[in-house]
């Protein structure tokens, strides 16, 4: 019942946002900001088009590779810093500092090294994602209650059994939170790279549309990316909550 009411309230807010959009469109004019209806009708043509598909595929490729790199390196660094106390203490403030820096300033360096290639986008996206994954993995390992390790020993588990049956389940919810945040910021990194300098991708397309004053296309791309990120985040959150309940 309350869940029902909450769903209704949330829907009301979505409707309110669409109405504000409509009002704003009226106010600033259709060329600066097209209203919801024209945008959605444009969306139905544009999203199935080949141009959208090609650029979405370019972004997806870069994003997938960047994510793979961010997850691999992030987990490795996190495990190392979590298991080795000293390296964790040395590295944590460095990672935290890097995390809150405007990393966009570093993109020209990557461009100078890689040029306008796929690798540039991938590396820049991965730089964003590695940090939260590493930080949260490290925290997860450090936060394992000591009593779990003692229990594993009193139960005479072999190291592999201890890792599989105790350490992994104890750390997984927090590690997953790191992977979720890593997902978000890696996507942002790839899009920023495409917006600044790129030959393809949705970020490139949106800047291209801006210079051509194609506002409908800009908003369409923004909405598509928004929806993708929101849905992915919801799924990852849902998995996280389920695991939390179990542990």
């Amino acid at each position: 019942m309350t869940a029902m009411r909450r769903a209704i309230d949330t829907t009301i807010i979505v409707i309110a946002v669409v109405l504000i959009w409509q009002g704003l469109a009226r106010w600033v004019g259709d060329t600066a900001l097209p209203g919801p209806a024209p945008t959605f009708s444009y969306m139905t043509h544009f999203v199935p088009s080949a141009r959208f598909a090609e650029n979405a595929a370019a972004t997806a490729t870069a994003f997938a590779l960047a994510l793979l790199l961010a997850y691999g390196l992030g987990l490795a660094i996190g495990v190392w810093m979590g298991a080795q106390r000293l390296s964790g203490e040395v590295g944590e403030p460095i990672l935290i500092t890097l995390y809150s820096l405007p990393k966009i300033t570093l993109y020209p360096v990557i461009l100078l090294i890689f040029g306008l290639t796929l690798s540039g986008k991938v590396v820049f996206g991965a730089i964003h994602g590695i940090l939260p994954v590493a930080l949260l993995t490290m925290a997860a390992i450090r936060n394992i209650p000591l009593v779990y390790l003692k229990s594993a020993r009193t139960l005479r588990l072999s190291p592999w059994q201890a890792i599989w049956n105790v350490l992994l389940p104890a750390t997984i919810p927090e590690v997953l939170a790191g992977l979720r945040i890593g997902f978000t910021v890696t996507l942002l990194g790839v899009l920023l790279a495409e917006m600044f300098a790129s030959k393809d991708g949705l970020g490139f397309l949106i800047i291209n549309a801006m210079t051509l004053l194609q506002t409908k296309e800009m908003i369409t791309i923004a909405v598509v990316l928004f929806s993708f990120a929101a849905v992915a985040n919801a799924i990852l959150l849902w998995i996280e909550h389920r695991l939390h309940r179990r542990v």
Partner: protein, 252 residues
């Protein structure tokens, strides 16, 4: 300083030294990167000449405006949302998703609406920072111990005195965390916005220097931006830690 602190310093110095050496020995092409020492000297000359003053003032000013707007309105919105539990429940899914979606992708739309001026940049800064302040405010208000309202009545305090002398100080550490995040987020958003497209500003300077193949200028500016961001973030972080330590982690 702790042992880890010394090692950290050593690691950082060693890394900068290695970079210096690699550049000097041409392991790294000078068209890709210049030695850190040259970045620093270039930055010092540029700062001394005063040519960067306008852009520094402009960028930091925009960030300050964005932070001020985010903190004031974020706090006010937090108060309102906290007072309306039903609205809060309805907004919860949006707060949970907000930092998961690339809000920045709306920057070009803002430019289309407001033109290429300071307005879209400030708006991007606010859009990125304000929700952190709202969430921090809600969190702080949630954590005001209920017994404080009873204490207030024992001391016969009015609504305003209770709010200013008991509730605000009780929530203050959480509010400060909100301010800290707002600064950090606004910084990132404003620099990124300038980078992508802006009439002027430090971010734009870097992008221009890149386009002009002016590596000395580009790396000097990069160093400046990263130094400012690091110092500001580290200062706020240290303050936050001191506060948290004084207040302790209290069971409520």
């Amino acid at each position: 300083m702790t042992r880890a602190g010394w090692i950290r310093l050593l690691v950082i110095v060693a890394m900068i030294g290695a970079l210096e050496l690699a550049c000097r020995l041409n392991f790294i092409d000078h068209r890709v990167m210049i030695p850190p020492s040259q970045m620093a000297t270039a930055l010092i000359t540029m700062l001394a000449s005063g040519q960067l003053n306008d852009d520094i003032v402009r960028t930091l000013g925009v960030i300050a405006i964005a932070v001020a707007l985010s903190v004031v309105f974020g706090f006010a919105l937090g108060l309102i949302i906290h007072a309306l539990p039903r609205l809060r429940a309805a907004l919860d899914p949006f707060f949970a998703t907000y930092y998961a979606v690339p809000v920045f992708i709306f920057y070009p739309v803002m430019i289309a609406i407001f033109g290429l001026s300071l307005v879209p940049i400030v708006l991007m800064g606010v859009a990125t920072a304000i929700v952190a302040m709202i969430i921090a405010t809600l969190n702080g208000l949630d954590r005001i111990p209920r017994v404080l309202t009873k204490v207030a009545r024992v001391h016969r305090m009015g609504r305003l005195a209770t709010a200013l002398q008991l509730q605000l100080p009780a929530a203050a550490p959480y509010l400060f965390t909100g301010v800290k995040l707002s600064v950090s987020y606004a910084f990132i958003a404003v620099i990124a916005a300038e980078f992508i497209l802006a009439p002027a500003g430090l971010g734009r300077d870097i992008a221009n220097a890149y386009a002009d193949f002016n590596n000395r200028r580009m790396y000097a500016l990069m160093l400046l931006v990263l130094l400012i961001a690091t110092v500001v973030n580290a200062g706020l972080h240290a303050w936050d830690l001191r506060w948290a330590k004084r207040r302790g982690a209290r069971p409520s």
